[in-house]
């Protein structure tokens, strides 16, 4: 069964992963605006790597191959301006796209890719995980994800740089004001838990930066 699945992934994997990327780029202008054509080229390459590691995990009957790859790749991408949620979303879409083919034995590949997405949650009980678990919609969810990555690495720049990029991209003071409201909501939620003071402090720092821009 493995051989059949490996053949299918080899034959269709590139097209599937490209369709996933196409959808992500079409649905969210963030990708092109933030990373441009160069980013898309890297994303194309990474998508092929996803499939290579997936095939290896299937062949080895070892989901941890994909888990190790996912956590390693997260480190690479977070330092380049993405957040954990972005990569998790990419994997979740990839799993759904593979599952949609309803291949015999395809559930194994779906489970491996879903497992990789799940592995991007930080360890339970950590501040980073608590931030990841905050429930926000859309943009707020990504803000929380950037914040979680910054907290996990003790690197405030990962969060503040993203906020500043958003502030520069948003149209006029109205857009920036909206971003500030989202940050205020995030900060208020974090403020309810003393264990998340470091994260709350990062949000305050980002809001100060935005205030300086508005001034």
């Amino acid at each position: 069964m493995n051989d059949d699945l490996l053949r299918l992934l080899e034959t269709h994997g590139h097209a599937i992963s490209q369709r996933v990327l196409d959808d992500m780029y079409r649905e969210d202008p963030f990708w092109t605006r933030r990373f441009g054509d160069r980013g898309r080229r890297h994303a194309d390459e990474d998508s092929d790597f996803h499939m290579q590691y997936l095939r290896r995990a299937v062949d080895a009957n070892d989901p941890d191959v994909m888990v190790r790859y996912a956590t390693w790749l997260r480190d690479v991408l977070v330092s380049r301006g993405m957040c954990s949620r972005h990569l998790a979303e990419n994997f979740e879409r990839l799993a759904r796209a593979i599952g949609a083919h309803a291949w015999d034995g395809g559930g194994k590949a779906v489970a491996i890719v879903d497992g990789a997405a799940g592995a991007l949650e930080y360890r339970a009980g950590t501040a980073a995980r608590a931030v990841q678990d905050l429930r926000f919609a859309d943009d707020g969810r990504h803000l929380a994800s950037y914040l979680a990555d910054a907290v996990a690495r003790g690197n405030s720049t990962l969060f503040v740089d993203h906020v500043l990029w958003l502030a520069r991209e948003l149209p006029g003071d109205g857009g920036i004001a909206g971003l500030d409201r989202a940050l205020a909501a995030l900060g208020e939620t974090l403020g309810r838990d003393a264990a998340l003071e470091d994260a709350a402090s990062l949000v305050r720092c980002a809001r100060d930066e935005i205030a300086a821009i508005r001034a």
């Binding site: 290579q52 290896r56 191959v65 190790r68 790859y69």
Partner: protein, 231 residues
């Protein structure tokens, strides 16, 4: 008899090597091949630091740091390649300065499996073994399986060492091991590289030999395996 080595002198050596590594890394990042060479030859070999300590403590450690800098987005792929190219040149020069061990006559073929483009770790292993006295054939990156098999038939080595860095090349590694077993049954196979580190159970399942990537362990393991195979 060797003079006793004090803890203080060991610490001083470690500190000297660490400082040399930092300066070597800076030279790599500046693309300054001459300075990188000067550091290891004049301030390393010339100051009496053993070649093995320079290979491991300066060049290998600097390469690990280079990899981490790329991962952290502090240098580009071009920077990484430039730095690695410098380390290849430096390894060549260090090899010239190494006191070659007594030739044992034991033959080792070192190769990256087909598809594997990262040849630096294999190069280092080849140098370690060659300096220790093995007769080494180093085949470099991405060795086509058929050509590796031909080389093994030709050389009839006592040991083949396979390197695989990227996990997605583990399938190629598996094919290589199967082919070597079919062509030369009984030839011991040593496996190394980052992918083996990620999937150690695969190396074990294939009955290949692994050890930590330091010179002493590699040499000792290679000698032991060859000795046991010859019994």
């Amino acid at each position: 008899m060797r003079p006793p080595v004090s803890a203080a002198s060991v610490a001083a050596d470690a500190s000297r090597i660490a400082q040399l590594r930092d300066r070597y890394l800076a030279a790599q990042l500046a693309g300054d091949r001459k300075e990188a060479l000067r550091l290891v030859v004049e301030e390393g070999v010339g100051a009496g630091i053993p070649v093995a300590a320079l290979q491991a403590g300066v060049v290998q450690e600097a390469q690990l740091a280079i990899g981490q800098l790329w991962q952290d987005n502090r240098i580009s792929v071009a920077d990484e390649h430039m730095a690695t190219a410098i380390s290849h040149v430096v390894l060549s020069r260090l090899f010239e300065h190494a006191p070659l061990g007594k030739r044992s006559g034991e033959r080792v073929v070192v190769a990256c499996v087909q598809g594997e483009m990262h040849d630096f770790p294999a190069r280092l292993v080849a140098d370690y073994l060659d300096i220790a006295g093995f007769h080494v054939r180093y085949l470099g990156a991405n060795v086509p399986l058929d050509d590796l098999a031909l080389m093994l038939w030709d050389v009839k080595p006592d040991l083949v060492a396979l390197s695989v860095t990227m996990t997605f090349n583990m399938g190629s590694f598996a094919n290589t091991v199967r082919r070597v077993r079919a062509e030369l049954p009984g030839l011991p196979i040593m496996a190394g590289g980052n992918a083996i580190h990620w999937e150690p159970e695969i190396a074990k399942a294939f009955g290949t030999i692994t050890c930590s990537p330091d010179a002493a362990c590699l040499v000792e393991t290679a000698r032991r395996v060859i000795r046991e195979t010859r019994r």
